[in-house]
Amino acid sequence: MSVATMLAPAVAANAPPPVLEVTDFSVEFRTRSGVVRALDRVAFSVGRGETVALVGESGSGKSVTAYALLGLLDAAGRITGGSAVLEGMELTTASPAALSAIRGKRAAMIFQNPRAALNPIRSVGKQIGDVLRRHAGLGARAAAAGAVEMLRAVGIPDPQRRASAYPFELSGGMCQRVMIAIAVATRPALLIADEPTTGLDVTTQAVVMDIMQKLAAETGMATILITHDLALAAERSGRIAVMHAGHIVEDAPTRTLLLNPRHPYTRRLLAATSTAAGNLSDLRSIPGSLPDLRRDDLPPCRFAARCDRRLPACDQPMVWHDLEPHHRIACWNPA
């Protein structure tokens, strides 16, 4: 039983196709204690210049989605179904060599802990230069100059001098900017940012996100912002896809989702977010806990066991329900 309809073509016939189109995407991990069905028929798309936020708690599968799309799963993980098309290229069946060729060039990723993601014994200028040499084919001198330009573009003061600095000499915020510079150096079509500002001060977070948005606007880059912070997603994305236990449960434009959340899990998540509350007593935790993804008998709706709007209908195979154009949920009994 496959998932039913994709979104009806909500875009006009002559609009450009999405940069990334993910359909029916499923990922499993084989572990000693069983098969973990980490992702189950995930589907979303990101258009040119658009920022889509993948929001969820830990264990929701948002980071797994990113790693799986770019072929960065560890040996125990496999893509077991679905498709992911990046600018016409099918990622799920691509060879490791083909994926390696587009990583860093057409699709780039930035990670949570910037200092850990940078090579500690290579200067930041050289690390940016490496990407330019490998993917843009520049020579050494051009790459060095390009690196300085990128450092300037991400707002690092005195870029000429800073290019020879090592990651340990830079603050966390600067390291994250360097990582953005590395990612964006080749003008990729897609940037995946996995919790890019967790661990940074809120003031640094604002500056780093500003830089990301500015660069995305300048180059028309599509961005997937993976975060657990709904408020960050609210501020920085045009569309939010809420994930729970390996499913996308709601996918809507940001304002729509926040003003009118329809999926019970989304509503619960909002009720637990302290940004929204006037008083501590207004906050509500989400009852229950994530299901064990190793079970063979996982129900079609993985939130049903914790849901107060559960109906007998919820035992049927899950399909998307289009509530409005662009707003769809995976729920039989939306609020």
């Binding site: 204690s33 264990g59 994530l290 064990d292 190793r294």
Partner: protein
């Protein structure tokens, strides 16, 4: 956290590790055999290890003498088995000694720093300045060829190694959250060191001990081989290899081979065991 509680008893985990890693299981079995040989071997051997029978000198391995006989007719099998107790005993004693002193020195050195660290560091450096076996030889030569002195010498030459391991593990944990928590709970420095930090360095120390057992056995055997260790006629692997060495050329290979093989197997066993032990002892590896 999804998932139930998997086996978290020590025995359950040990069984799990052994089933995952047959080599560890093999080493464990060997270890048990050695310990049994050391404990009850001497009462079970067919011949008195010291009884000489010149009529049967230099017999090749046969049904009556499994490992053959040596140059004065003693049964090599019996001697090899009885020697297990002595060799393992010396090794165990010296490892225990250096674990206690080296471990404590490393803990203090890593936790408090300052002059204690400097002093212990210099002592370690002094010991390491010498080729270690030569130093052992010198200590035994100066103090006399007795078993306690062999234990002492082996302990001394391993001291820097233990200090280094204990110190590194301690330094890693000295700033840890649980050290602060212990202070908040009312522990004073020494209490924190011994009650909180020490249990956490145990896994590495135990691995170190097992690996050092192998070297300690080799050390004792080596000293005996050159005549500075245990004296004849006491059965000991090193002496036996020394005595047998002169017979290899004339074709009586068994006199040196069997004690040498036992030596090799023992060291091999302890090295493998060290790796497996680390898995068992460290609770982070459970489930």
């Amino acid at each position: 956290m999804s998932g139930g509680v998997t086996s978290d008893t020590a025995l359950g985990h040990a069984r799990h590790v052994v089933s995952e890693n047959p080599v560890t299981g093999f080493a464990l079995a060997l270890f048990v055999i050695f310990v049994l040989a050391a404990i009850i071997g001497p009462s079970l051997v067919p011949y008195d290890p010291l009884a000489s029978d010149t009529a049967s000198a230099l017999r090749a391995p046969s049904a009556e003498h499994w490992f053959g006989t040596d140059q004065i007719g003693r049964d090599i099998f019996s001697r090899v088995v009885v020697a297990t107790r002595l060799d393992l005993g010396i090794a165990a004693a010296s490892v225990a000694l250096v674990f206690a002193f080296g471990g404590f020195a490393g803990l203090v050195s890593g936790f408090f720093g300052g002059w204690a660290d400097q002093l212990i560091g210099r002592v370690s450096d002094t010991i390491m300045a010498f080729p270690l076996f030569v130093l052992a030889m010198a200590i035994v030569a100066a103090l006399g060829n007795t078993v306690p002195n062999i234990v002492l010498a082996t302990g001394i030459i391993n001291f820097p190694l233990y200090v280094r391991v204990a110190r590194a593990e301690t330094v890693q944990r000295r700033e840890a959250g649980f050290v602060d928590a212990a202070r908040i709970a009312g522990h004073r420095d020494m209490g924190v060191l011994l009650g909180q930090v020490a249990p956490n360095i145990m896994p590495m120390m135990v691995v170190q001990m097992s690996l050092t057992m192998g070297y300690a056995i080799l050390n004792a055997a080596g000293l005996s081989f050159i005549g500075l260790g245990v004296r004849a006629p006491t059965p000991e692997w090193g002496i036996m290899v020394a005595e047998g060495a002169s017979f290899i050329v004339s074709g009586e290979w068994w006199v040196a081979l069997f004690p040498g093989a036992m030596l090799m197997t023992a060291v091999f066993c302890f090295n493998l065991l060290g790796d497996g032990l680390r898995d068992i002892v460290d609770p982070r590896r459970r489930t």
